[in-house]
């Protein structure tokens, strides 16, 4: 649309355009900028640019700290582009294109590309870590050796070398170092007036505050004994532990110290010979496995067709109903003889002004079979949300209620933009009102409205809110291979599969489904837009 109105920029950009134009003949506009005073537009422009640059600089330390180089490069490029576009006086097209392009990239392209990327990985709640993190996690698992002593602990320091001062349950005290455990005699232990130990030999006792930055050292200190290694449990207690797993870096194999089972890293997870696996795994590329899974999975194939058909019925039905109701009301209220137009219009917009998040829940309550206000008013016992057919009707009804004000607004605007002369001309030519509507009004209306209908289809195709908040996709389909509801659409159905079953969130799998739904909606939209262009050529 903007290509038809190249002049509708904001103040800042119009101003900068005019200054730039003025540069050619070296005669700045005399009125405001005569004494070199900046215009308000320029001030605003500089403020906005300063804010953008400031935001970048504010984020810089974090990005450097986390070594987030890609993010840094992209952000730096965006800022440099913006500065270049607005601080130089050339590049007028860039002043229009750069911000739009950056927003389109940030909010449209990046999410799609990122979903595509994730869909090629096995990313899930148990495959989120890097391989090293997963190995660290498994090898740090220790278990208390049953039947061994629990020690009281104080942590000692001798010029940077740490040691444990340990007291066992029989009140014997020991010095624990990496060499081993050594019984202490009283003369080696120095106590203060209260009887608290303050030093052993050359070692001094450290307080918790002194240890804040040295916890890794304390945790790494293992005092070998015959049963296992003594390690700190807390700052004041220690016990004998053995590691559950040991990792061999040369072979990449992980061994369970207890059972001797050897695990091999296969497809992002340590896997034993008998196929059992250890969590956590790590994230790897798995190519198109997620897509293969979508098409071959019994769980998905089960009710898939039924869900898909209803998804189309719901999206198309929603568009048709909201548009039908909205247009009818717009025409009725557009009649010149209509009184109280403004009040009606204001009232009709209310459903649109309330957040659908809330109204969907309110509708769910009103449609409740036993306590709902609708059944109470009707004095009936109608299973609005429990009967498969009625539930579909209810969902469409509520979605129409939510959506018609938008269509009403759009149609009102479009109708008012049709010049009266055209209608008058058709009457003069002898057309009936119906003919005028069909041949003149509708085609002109569709030019403005058709793209919005396509957008509305795309939106409703993935209208998770209404489906989920109204009835959670229910009522359940009897005997389905996996839990699915009669009003489930693809997105609500697969949401459950990907996030509420199995072992929790499966981002890779969910992304593959998202990409497939994106392709479906995008192809329908692309075809429709092509049709719309044909529509424009008629007039």
């Amino acid at each position: 649309m903007s290509d038809r109105n190249p002049a509708d920029g904001d103040d800042a950009s119009t101003d900068s355009v005019s200054t730039a134009e003025g540069r050619g003949d070296q005669t700045p506009r005399p009125s405001r900028a005569s004494a070199g005073m900046p215009t308000w537009g320029l001030v605003l422009k500089l403020l906005v640019l300063a804010a953008v640059n400031g935001a970048f600089l504010a984020g810089l330390p974090t990005m450097l700290e986390n070594q987030w180089w890609t993010g840094l490069a992209v952000a730096a490029m965006a800022v440099i582009l913006l500065d270049w576009a607005y601080l130089t006086k050339k590049n007028i097209p860039a002043k229009y294109l750069v911000p739009g392009t950056i927003f389109a990239l940030a909010f449209q392209v990046v999410p799609v590309v990122y979903s595509g990327y994730i869909s090629l990985t096995n990313s899930s709640i148990s495959h989120r870590l890097s391989e090293q993190q997963a190995i660290d996690n498994l090898t740090s698992r220790v278990s208390n050796v049953p039947g061994t002593t629990l020690y009281q602990l104080a942590i000692l320091d001798d010029d940077g070398e740490l040691a444990f001062y340990l007291i066992d349950d029989t009140d014997e005290d020991f010095l624990g170092t990496t060499e081993g455990l050594e019984p202490l005699t009283d003369d080696r232990v120095e106590t203060d007036a209260d009887g608290d130990v303050i030093a052993v030999d050359d070692f001094v006792v450290l307080g918790l505050g002194d240890l804040a930055d040295r916890q890794d050292e304390v945790l790494a200190l293992e005092v070998p004994t015959d049963d296992g290694a003594i390690r700190a449990t807390t700052f004041s207690s220690a016990a004998v532990y053995e590691s559950l797993y040991s990792y061999d870096e040369a072979t990449g194999l992980l061994t369970n110290n207890d059972t001797g089972v050897v695990y091999e890293p296969i497809e992002g997870q340590f896997t034993a010979a008998d196929g059992s696996t250890l969590d956590p795994g790590w994230q790897i590329f798995i190519g198109f496995d997620n897509y293969v899974r979508v098409f071959t999975n019994d769980a998905i194939r089960g009710p898939f067709l039924q869900v898909l058909i209803w998804n189309y019925v719901f999206a198309i039905g929603s568009v048709a109903l909201t548009f039908g109701v909205g247009l009818a009301l717009a025409i009725a209220l557009n009649h010149p003889g209509m009184r109280g137009q403004k009040i009606y219009r204001a009232l009709l917009v209310i459903p649109y002004a309330l957040p659908s998040f809330m109204t969907a829940l309110v509708w769910a309550g009103m449609l409740n079979q036993e306590f709902g206000v609708i059944n109470k008013l009707l004095g009936a016992d109608i299973p609005w949300l429990r009967d498969p057919t009625l539930a579909k009707v209810s969902v469409l009804m509520v979605n129409t209620w939510l959506g018609f004000p938008y269509m009403f607004l759009v149609c009102t605007g479009a109708l008012q933009a049709i010049p009266d002369e055209m209608k008058e001309a058709s009457y003069v030519d002898g057309a009936s009102p119906r003919q005028t509507f069909r041949r003149i009004v509708m085609p002109m209306l569709m030019i403005a409205v058709a793209p919005l209908l396509i957008a509305s289809f795309a939106f409703n195709f993935n209208n998770f809110n209404v489906i989920y908040l109204l009835n959670q996709g229910g009522p359940p389909i009897e005997g389905a291979a996996t839990p699915a509801g009669h009003t489930d659409i693809l997105i609500s159905y697969t949401y459950r599969l990907a996030f509420e079953s199995g072992s929790g969130a499966q981002w890779g799998f969910a992304s593959a489904i998202a990409v497939l739904i994106f392709l479906m909606v995008a192809s329908v939209s692309a075809i429709s837009f092509r049709r719309t262009r044909a529509l424009e050529e008629i007039v």
Binding site: T234, A346, G502
Partner: protein, 448 residues
């Protein structure tokens, strides 16, 4: 002109009020009054099944909008709004004694789990969280919690509570509260403790027949069916969700929903629904309201509901659910506790704080005061139960309960089982519904 505007405004307000009124009439949970109850439910429950009702009503919207970044402190604890003030007291003491800084950050209860999974590996997570034991399946497989050696303190705790935090042979948390559902009986309407569940049903139906009450049993079904609240009755018939291995852990290969006991329980739910003893439309708010207003002589619910009953001034006792069909009803037990992140910046501060400061009778009693859940610390429980019959009642009811399965496969159970109940309550053959549900769960687990 001005009068016109005022008229518009008045009209708009009137409409807004109509909308609001409709929602409260319908027992929906979007009004202000509903909000307080849903927050309570959201923070109390440990079950996905209950979540479905509460999250939809905005149970977790209170905090999700606020981005949480690790506070700048030596030790960072994530807790919910109920426990934050209590933990803060002990955290301050810990900080002062050791000359370090401690921060307690408040999140929605369910948010703690979801945020830890993402924030932990990114280095933005806390050192310690509070949470429910049935999160372990997810948290351990995500690799974000570290084992915690309780050997020095476990003797002071209820064995069941400690075992609930045992996941694949290691213990991952220090329990502080145990919760389970029990029978709550209105002592004015039903003065005598029912000997059997069948007596309870007869008595309730008699009260309904003479018009004293409207809902015989306030058993929360959330509009669909609630496997968590229905579980005691299923177990009384010998049904179960997962069988157990020799070492007491759950076996996801053995699904007992379509076992003989499970199918018998299904038939019984069909009967209860046909007789009008329970209703699919009993949402959390409906359960609270019917029991609070004396429209229901019995409720099956947990400690989270008692505040509302007390406020309404209804006289009640808490006791174990009586035997059903000769079998003992065994509820799910949820245990809440402290867990240490495996990405903790200061793991030793964390274990020291948890084991030395929060495992004490004093801390456990303070947490009870705030949250109302029976303490996991045995001495603290005994002290509380001595002068609080409600705590004693829930404790007794939970004595033979089963810990809620923490294995990830449990995630595949809720929706399928909920659907099965919904189908039973709307007239499908009960046995068929449970058989289908069990098949669905097997498919979901197999397809992982």
């Amino acid at each position: 002109m001005r009068s016109k505007r005022i008229a518009w405004f008045a009209l708009f307000m009137a409409l807004a009020m109509v909308v609001a009124a409709c929602s409260s009439d319908s027992g929906d949970t979007t009004t202000t009054e509903g909000d307080t109850t849903t927050t309570v439910a959201a923070e109390t429950t440990t079950t996905e099944a209950m979540e479905t009702t509460t999250t939809a009503a905005g149970g977790d919207t209170t905090t999700t909008t606020v981005p949480v970044v690790r506070a700048d402190a030596d030790l960072v604890i994530w807790a919910d709004d109920t426990r934050t003030p209590v933990i803060q007291v002990f955290a301050d003491r810990f900080a002062e004694e050791n000359g370090i800084t401690v921060a307690v950050q408040e999140l929605g209860f369910q948010d703690i789990r979801d945020r830890l999974v993402t924030a932990g590996p990114a280095g933005e997570g806390p050192d310690i969280i509070i949470g429910a034991h049935d999160w372990l399946g997810q948290l351990v497989s995500a690799g974000v919690v570290a084992p915690l050696d309780l050997s020095s303190v476990e003797g002071n705790f209820s064995e069941a509570a400690v075992q609930a935090f045992n996941y694949e042979g290691a213990i991952y948390g220090l329990p502080y509260a145990v919760e389970n559902i029990a029978l709550v009986r209105n002592t004015d309407l039903a003065p005598d403790s029912p000997a059997t569940f069948e007596d309870l049903v007869d008595n309730a139906l008699a009260l309904q027949a003479d018009g004293t009450i409207t809902l015989p049993l306030a058993l929360q079904e959330n509009g669909n069916g609630d496997p968590f609240h229905n579980y005691p009755i299923v177990t009384a018939f010998g049904g179960y969700v997962f069988g157990t291995n020799a070492d007491g852990s759950y076996n996801p290969e053995d699904i007992g929903i379509d076992s003989d006991g499970g199918l018998a329980a299904a038939e019984y739910f069909g009967e209860l629904s046909d007789q009008g003893v329970i209703s699919i439309d009993t949402l959390y708010d409906v359960m609270i309201e019917s029991f609070s207003t004396g429209q229901s002589p019995y409720a099956i619910t947990g400690p989270w509901a008692l505040n509302a009953f007390d406020e309404a001034g209804v006289n009640y006792v808490v006791e174990p659910i009586p035997s059903v069909n000769g079998g003992d009803p065994r509820p799910f037990i949820g245990v809440q506790g402290f867990m240490v992140s495996s990405f903790a910046e200061n793991p030793l501060f964390a274990s020291t704080f948890v084991l030395d400061f929060m495992a004490t009778e004093e801390a456990q009693a303070a947490l009870f005061e705030a949250g109302g859940r029976p303490p996991a610390h045995t001495a603290a429980f005994d002290a509380v139960a001595a002068d609080n019959p409600n705590v004693k009642g829930f404790g007794e009811a939970g004595q033979n309960g089963y810990p809620m399965p923490a294995i990830p496969e449990m995630g595949s159970v809720w929706q399928a089982w909920t659907d099965a109940y919904a189908l039973i309550f709307t007239g499908t053959d009960p046995a068929q519904a449970f058989t289908d549900a069990a098949d669905q769960i097997r498919t979901l687990i197999a397809e992982g």
